[in-house]
């Protein structure tokens, strides 16, 4: 198959909808347009049945015992908000302390910050240089006032997979609820809410080859029964936890995507990990000073986050404009601050500016991996020829010893 440009290697940002998913969704825009909440006619019944089937498929993917534990939302940002604010509001008489980590997604961090303004206390756990949250640190942070621990399943930037099962053991022992933003990890690393003692989990369709605009929050119904206060009021949809007419085509697509992931995820992940390793090997073979960010062992199969020292990330992305990747460089954000995730892992701002995240996925081909490895190597070499830092490094100057004029 001929190589087609541009090449997509940003699967952490979003994924294309699998053609099988699109096909399953299509009737629900047209002839099967019913409102799942219409109880009085066949249009509504058909929609409700389709929603129920999707609920079952998504529950099966994450090991949930009861499909009613799946609460549909607009996406993971809403799920994170609903989980954390919902628990905080419902259990505020019990305690006011929440534990999370510094490398969570903004949907978790900013939600926690808002709760702090409302009087809650939040502990932001640090991570190791590999981006791991240590269960021991969670244990130490637990207090009598702790009502919730929220730790992501896998990080979106460096792909580090967190020890959720170990953390789940701790929280279950103490009767504290555990929420995980599982968005990046579902289907790519083993995840089972029962085995891992997870009480709430945020998931979204568009990171697993489903459509955008549909997500879910897993809310445990037994042992323990988790209660949350709804954050959107209205018709009382989704067992009273999230009002609003259901996005039936989205839910149908989400269900199909979950079914495919359950059937093919494990095999697919092996292939993707091989391609990721090949990309890493090709890059490091040709280039020196390529630093892997994150954990080698506890890593999402499709994630490769590396810093090409002495080359600025945005400049590199401009040079490889036929390849869609992302960077922890400040220049890609409006804030001009480099990645807080890399910063939290103790990676210097200079290397954070030089970082590139490659995200491989279902439709990545070996040809694309070869092409990207060659193109990136060539452009890094070219940019290093233009880099005063690389020249100084080659002359043996320790860049850390130079007095830079910060600006």
């Amino acid at each position: 198959m001929a190589l087609q440009l541009p090449i997509y290697m940003d699967y952490h940002a979003t994924t294309p909808v699998d053609p099988r998913v699109i096909e399953t969704m299509l009737p629900y825009f047209g002839v099967k347009f019913g409102n799942a909440a219409s109880r009085s006619h066949a249009f509504g019944w058909g929609a409700e049945e389709a929603v129920t089937i999707s609920r079952e498929k998504i529950a099966a993917l994450i090991g949930a015992k009861n499909p009613k534990e799946i609460v549909f939302t607009s996406g993971a940002t809403e799920s994170d908000n609903l989980a954390i604010k919902g628990v905080a509001e419902f259990y505020k008489e019990k305690g006011n302390h929440i534990i999370t980590s510094v490398i969570e997604h903004k949907a978790v961090l900013d939600t926690c910050k808002r709760l702090e303004k409302e009087g809650f206390e939040v502990t932001y756990l640090p991570v190791t240089t590999e981006g791991l949250v240590e269960p021991e640190a969670v244990k130490k942070a637990l207090t009598d006032k702790t009502i919730l621990v929220s730790i992501m399943l896998a990080n979106n930037e460096v792909g580090t997979i967190q020890p959720i099962a170990e953390i789940g053991k701790l929280t279950r022992e103490r009767g504290i609820l555990l929420h995980t933003d599982a968005v990046q990890g579902i289907g790519k690393t083993p995840f089972d809410v029962e085995a891992m003692n997870v009480d709430l989990a945020s998931i979204t369709a568009h990171k697993m080859y489903g459509p955008k605009g549909i997500g879910a929050l897993y809310v445990r119904r037994s042992k323990p029964r988790v209660r949350i206060t709804a954050q959107v009021d209205g018709g009382g949809h989704e067992f009273g936890m999230r009002s609003g007419t259901l996005n039936v085509p989205g839910i149908v697509g989400f269900g199909k995507a979950a079914e495919i992931m359950k059937a093919e995820g494990a095999e697919e992940s092996k292939r993707i990990a091989k391609q990721r390793d090949a990309l890493h090997e090709k890059l490091t073979k040709r280039l020196d000073d390529v630093k892997l960010n994150g954990s080698r062992e506890h890593r999402l199969p499709g994630n490769l986050n590396v810093s090409f020292a002495f080359v600025e990330g945005e400049a590199l992305m401009m040079a490889i404009k036929d390849v869609a990747v992302s960077s922890g460089s400040a220049c890609t954000s409006a804030s001009l601050e480099p990645s807080y995730v890399l910063h939290s892992m103790g990676i210097g701002d200079d290397l954070a500016h030089s970082s590139i995240r490659f995200g491989l996925g279902r439709f990545t081909t070996d040809e694309e991996v070869d092409f990207v490895a060659n193109l990136v190597s060539e452009k890094v070499e070219k940019l290093r020829e233009m880099s005063p830092l690389y020249e100084m490094h080659k002359e043996g100057i320790d860049l850390a010893s130079v007095q830079w004029a910060a600006h």
């Binding site: 002495f310 600025e312 401009m318 001009l336 005063p388 910060a406 600006h407």
Partner: protein
């Protein structure tokens, strides 16, 4: 972010990338920025005895706009007297390259690099004169 055509042109075909002998008394070197801030520019000028910049070189660690700003600066410097070079302002660079507000600091850095290279050149000349006395 969309780049202007001029930024892309300078980025893809950078003018005057390279290194001049920093120990040469005719060469002034400016090294500005910091790796932690994501941009470092080194700009060098070579001034002949008539006080005219006959060569200019740069190397830049930074985004496309930073590379383009320094590339443009070297282009403008060549053939100017040192005094004329001093009048180059960041706003002129930003305007020429159509830099968006978030990239204005790249042009500021280029102006700093020019000034820093001139200061270095003048310091060398002053040292030379002091020695000759």
């Amino acid at each position: 972010m969309a780049y202007s055509e001029k930024v892309i042109d300078h980025y893809e075909n950078p003018r005057n990338v390279g290194t001049l002998d920093k120990n040469d008394e005719h060469v002034g070197t400016g090294l500005v920025g910091a790796p932690a801030c994501g941009d470092v520019m080194r700009l060098q000028i070579k001034v002949n005895d008539a006080g005219v910049i006959e060569d200019a070189k740069f190397k830049t660690f930074g985004c496309g706009s930073a590379i383009a700003s320094s590339s443009l600066a070297t282009e403008w410097l060549k053939g100017k007297s040192v005094d004329e070079a001093e009048t180059i302002k960041n706003s002129m660079i930003a305007e020429e390259l159509n830099l968006p507000p978030v990239k204005i600091h790249c042009s500021v850095l280029a102006e700093d690099a020019i000034k820093s290279a001139i200061v270095d050149f003048r310091a060398k000349q002053a040292a030379k004169r002091a020695l000759a006395k």
